[in-house]
């Protein structure tokens, strides 16, 4: 019994899971806006700053 008869079906199952995961992401609106999430990375540290500002006030 060759290995590919096992490994390829496993690969296909993984692809199936990937497709399902992507579909779920699309359905929950994660692909509706492809521009702004890129900037949220830049402002993460400011969350802490804001919290500190708030606490110190």
């Amino acid at each position: 019994m060759s290995l590919i008869f096992i490994s390829i079906p496993i690969g296909l199952v993984l692809v199936g899971i990937a497709v399902w995961a992507f579909f779920w992401a699309v359905r929950s609106g994660q692909y509706d806006d492809l521009d702004s999430p890129a900037y949220s990375v830049l402002s993460d540290e400011d969350d802490d700053k804001r919290k500190r500002d708030k606490d110190s006030r």
Binding site: S2, I4, F5, I8, G11, L12, V15, A18, V19, F22, F23, V26, R27, G29, Y31, D32, D33, L34, D35, S36, A38, Y39, S40, L42, S43, D46, K49, R50, D53, K54
Partner: protein, 821 residues
Amino acid sequence: MNSQTACFHCGEPVPPDVSLQVMVDETPQPVCCSGCEAVAGMILGSGLDDFYRFRPEPTGRPEDPTLGEQDRYAGFDKPGTQQDFVYQSADGSCEAALLVEGLYCTACGWLIERSLQDAPGIREVRVNPATGRALLRWEPSTVRLSQLMAHMGRLGYRPHPVLPETMDSQATKERRSAMRRLIVAGLGMMQAMMFAVALYFGQYHGMDPEHAQFLRLVSMLVATPVVLYAGMPIFLGAFRDLRNLRPGMDVPVSLAIGTGYFASVWVTFTGGPEVYFDSISMFTFFLLVARYVEMAARHRANATNDALARLVPSTTTRLDADGAESEVPVRELVLGDRVLVRPGATIPADGEVLRGQGSVDESMLTGESDPQSRGPGSTVVGGSVNLSGSLEVRVDRLGQDTMVSHIGRLLRRAQAERPGLARLADTVARYFVTVVLFATATVFTIWWHVDPAMAFPVTLAMLVATCPCALSLATPTALAAGTNRMAASGLLVTRGDALETLARVNHVVLDKTGTLTEGRLGVVETRRLGDCSDEQALALAGALEYHSEHPLARAFPRDSSVVPAEQAETVRGAGVEGHVAGVRYRIGRPDWVAELAGIGVSEELGRGAWVALGNGDGLLAAYRVADRLRPDAAEAVAALQADGITIEIASGDAQSAVETVANRLNITRWQARMSPEDKLARLRQLQADGAVVLMVGDGINDAPVLAGANVSAALNEGTTLAQTSAAMVLLGGRLSRLGEGMGTARRTLRVIRQNLIMSASYNASMLPLAAMGLVPPWLAAIGMTLSSVVVVLNARRLGGRTRGGPPVPATGSPQQGVLQS
């Protein structure tokens, strides 16, 4: 541009007589009006100063804070209104979608999200700058919707609830379905190619036939959803084309995919030399990518068309026969109903004023910035805003018959008739496709007689090689990159063919009021007449004018907080009289003000509109009030002229006013007192003489000309209607962006030309080789992919490394970011 200080918040020049400031990182920064002061203070106060670093463009000037934000939205708290657009979830929270005016960039979206997140009672805020929409989820027990909307209003963005019929769920559905197909095709393509590599190697190194057969079966398994699910729109498109007898690109493409797939299935089960699952998956994926790019551009264009729907309010106060008031949705109104329009409310439908006196802001429809006085017997237009005094209005025209819908219809028709690049591309494609199908059929017949075993692979290779994939990607990718580039520098392109035409423009026609000038009155000259400092005089003027709704009053920084004026009274046709610190003052018409001291106007004030300030002892100061030129108007005009472009002013204003502006800007061609028809006639004449005309305007009266010009730009402070009829929207009122935009458009067109030549020569050189059987289908598919990649990369060059590109966090002070733009 640096000669005048720019407002830290809105970027407009700070009038020399205003000394308002906000503190940013311990440095005072100037702002131009109390509205900007309030917004900037609110943003900075909540620690959101990053907004000023990330935004690509100064924000629009906020609403006058004196107008009572909260009251404006109070109507949206009524259950009758809410049932239309608010969704109640099971856990008691409410959800609503809002269309947000002024939301153009990512930084704006970030600001709204951050600022609202901290509000009490908010469960979730999601803002999508691409569609201009915000989704709110809140606890109705803690906070009212009107409070949240007022919060957005205070930030300078005006929210409008989106009714189910205007919600673009259609577009969202289309986008999501395209995304799903793209994912299936992409993943399927990767798998199929992996197995294909194994099969090709197997052919050279010898492979167990059992393994080869297994790999073919698996390839079929992954290619089937790619073809049948992801490729479905292509097949449907081809079917539609054939039924209409207008073969487009879809026909040979679906022929290639369809025959390739079924032949491969046949080979898989009956045995044969080759399967093409990898080629067709890759092919499908690249076609879908091209379609996705196109669809995104189309959706952006449609979003602007929603703008008109925003004008009409969704509820109004109806007066019943017995005089009782009831709040009803606008669509429940019938002809002849009487409605009460309070100050600050939007007039729900066209009608006649029965009772009451007030001034109405019709600027959305007419571009006329001065409020219009309306009394019994005069007609009012739905969508305009009542500024002062309650009006009782009889409804005469509703829904489809109103002025707003009428203009909307006219526009849609004008837009539909617009000949575009797209139509030409379709025609070319039809001939191309017919020729390709004919050639392929001929080649197939010839090979069938020469070598039947080769007939099929050759035909398939031909169909794939002639696939106009790179050809069809050439234009949309370059257009998308060019459009993004221009949006980043402040020129929003809302219609696809705008870029193409903009590159060829040799004649620019400009409107004066609101385009070359700011379209808003301001103090341009101050003359000190009494023994009172300029600051004191201006504070007095502001305090008095605070009580006036007159357009001239808007030229002053209306503020009652410094020195409050008491017993203020507006005298029609004259000005305002009031007491400040016990002294009686007057502001308004010079002779009326001088009357207070019992003197005549001693000094000759000269031409223009003068407003005087005085008390019992005489005149204190006089101000000349006029519409100011935009700060960068001269620069922009000079740059365009240096480019060899003819500039012309077409204005509805008086001769002398136009002449002054033209002289100051060195424009030799100008015409005054033009009606919209005159403007259109002049435009037609220019076009008949062979000019490619760019029209720039802001008002409703400009709308027909904007729609009729080869390409047009509206200012984002202009009327909604002007923006809908124009192909581009100029953000921040910066005219200098026009010249830059033309440069980008020309570069875009050059890239498109390069792309078309590259892809066409690729197709042309591959065709004979494929016909002779020298190109196996897999090589044809790889060649096609490579040519597409080259085309996409070439288009990408338009996006990057130029100044003022996409928002990048500035390392310097935020002030710098405002000034350099």
